[in-house]
């Protein structure tokens, strides 16, 4: 049975179900329970994460399985790597993806490479949940979208959901995957509502979701930008252009076929990705299509990304920083060769 719940509630439910299903699933991170050793906390007064995403889990599963950590990302993320390799199935929360600077070694040189370096004789069933995304007025060190860094590193799987239903199914798949997964949550999506099935289900990795079908133009969009793409597609429809909107859902592995098949049909591609442009996922998908999909292409491949600058604090600037439906429309107009597409 599906109900309408928030993105945040969908994630909470996924963790709850996973922890019920398998006692080896633990959750650790800064304030994921909250108020450790504070004895006057009542009911759900404990924080449950800085945005409340893990609220209530400590009540059900106790402080042995929902562990508050010191501010020591290298320490507890690194610990989660071997906790995974020695028999647990940890969900480690890296509060903001921007804090990867404090624990990249544990992710890049340990988690990602352990299995390979050991000749396949170990596995690392670790999920790192982390918040990303601009638009929250959180400035340069709390607003990045760093999934490209992780996608560059072999040995990691990278997930970026765009809807509550996907978030739940992908998080459950991540937790029960035997490889290290970095799971990105856009902080500005937490309150977004959507239909979500009750109970346990997983969404397999490497299967893109076609969020909207169309024959004239392919738009591949990442995370929250799926919604930017859908908005643009709705306006395009009014102007007689049917855009297909593809949400890869997992960046590593990437569903190359769905993207290539779509471009084979439409001949045109725009990638919408709010990360910085250089060596980005937008560039990666462009490169894929410029190689394997070259013969399908009728027009240049366009990328709508952030500019090559840090995320500015001022709302006035941050709004200019992010992709918008208008930017997508402008690119569409250019590659379709029809200026009338852009709204005036």
């Amino acid at each position: 049975m599906a109900r309408t719940i928030s993105f945040s509630a969908a994630l909470n439910e996924a963790m709850r179900l996973a922890m019920r299903k398998d006692e080896h699933v633990i959750l650790l991170g800064e304030d994921v329970a909250g108020g450790a050793t504070v004895d006057h906390l009542q009911d759900d007064e404990a924080w449950g994460g800085v945005m409340g995403v893990t609220k209530g889990l400590v009540q059900e599963f106790g402080r042995e399985r929902v562990l508050d950590t010191p501010i020591a990302e290298a320490g507890y993320i690194g610990a989660a790597v071997t906790a995974a390799a020695t028999g647990l199935r940890p969900i480690a929360e890296l509060m903001f993806n921007d804090f990867i600077g404090s624990c990249l070694d544990e992710v890049m040189n340990q988690a990602a490479k352990l299995r390979y370096m050991f000749g396949g004789k170990a596995k690392v069933p670790l999920t790192i949940r982390t918040m990303h995304g601009a638009g929250f007025r959180a400035a340069a060190q709390h607003s990045q979208s760093l999934y490209a860094l992780f996608t560059h590193i072999p040995g990691l799987k990278v997930v970026v959901p765009s809807t509550p239903a996907d978030a739940k199914g992908l998080l459950l798949a991540s937790i029960f995957d035997d490889d290290p997964v970095i799971f990105f949550e856009d902080k500005t999506l937490y309150n977004m509502k959507g239909e979500v099935e009750e109970g346990f289900y997983t969404i397999p990795f490497g299967i893109a979701d076609i969020k909207r079908q169309g024959d004239d133009l392919t738009i591949v969009a990442i995370g929250k930008q799926v919604h930017t793409a859908l908005k643009a597609a709705a306006i395009l429809q009014e102007r007689g252009v049917e855009a297909e909107v593809i949400d890869p859902r997992t960046l590593s592995p990437l569903d190359e076929n769905t993207i290539l098949s779509s471009v084979a049909k439409t001949g045109r591609l725009i990638v919408v990705d709010e990360a910085n442009p250089r060596c980005s996922v937008a560039a990666d998908i462009s490169a894929l299509v410029a190689d394997k999909g070259f013969d399908y292409l009728d027009a240049p491949i366009k990328r709508i990304t952030a500019p090559h600058c840090p995320v500015p604090f001022s709302p006035a600037l941050e709004d200019l920083y992010l992709p918008t439906p208008e930017k997508v429309l402008r690119a569409a107009a250019e590659i379709i060769g029809d200026e009338t597409i852009v709204p005036v």
Binding site: P70, A74, G101
Partner: protein
Amino acid sequence: MAVARSQSIVLTKEKAKWMYQKMQEIRQFEDKVHEIFSRGVLPGFVHLYAGEEAVAVGVCAHLTEKDYITSTHRGHGHCIAKECDVNGMMAEIYGKATGLCKGKGGSMHIADVSKGMLGANGIVGGGFPLAVGAGLTAKLKKTGSVAVCFFGDGANNHGTFHEGINLAAIWKLPVIFVAENNGYAESTPFEYASSCRNIADRAAAYNIPGEVVDGKDVIAVYEAAKRAIERARNGEGPTLIECKTYRNYGHFEGDAQTYKSLEEKQKHLQELDAIVKFREYLLVNQLCSEQELAEIEQSVAKAIEKAVEFAENSPFPTEEDLLRDVYVSY
């Protein structure tokens, strides 16, 4: 470790007034930001320093523009104590083009290098290495400057604490590490997250002096900082000072603070206020008259009002600012 309390010392009248004024500026600035934030006007994350004024002011009372400080996500107090312009600060928090950082940094990155204020920092523990770098410049260029690293009890468990203090110690750099132990990192108590009883106990691991100070007693902080800064200026290397303090507001604006107990909150807000205490001290020791103090309070109130006005009337940055200053060149 015993908690050092203030002994009788002689503050000049001028210094005393400066300190009282700065404490007032911080408190009133933060109370105002709190009020504006709760009206939904201000964007972003805001972490208020109210309650901890004695730390920033007691330390910075010894510094000049040529000395450096590194700060934290809770940086407004350090900014004010380091004599940054409150108009520019308020405008920055509003995201205006007239802000100290032209609106690009916001509350968490507020900075004024020309005042030696090397920035608030959104990264917990980010300041340790940065303070070491400023100390290295001071030592190599023989400027006589010192660098002060303010950090929280939460930051004390981050790897950069260890790397930064060890570096400063082996290179005998003029750096003072000032822990602001307000008992919590977000909702996590210091006692849970830290295996040490006092942060200052960790100084021994680096063979440097460590001292615990009542962080609500501005004179005690002032005295401890004096010793440490003298040591630093004399080339004797770093010191670790731990100030036991408390934050009057939540971790950030919007925090329900369920992890604090009622008694604890009342005790700190009512009995242990650093400004109330210092005010009494100034009167009892006849360093300031009631009238002088009232004048300071009022003039600060005016200055803060003016800062809000300035911020509100200032323009936002515009499109051409977006890509400006990513690099010096290109």
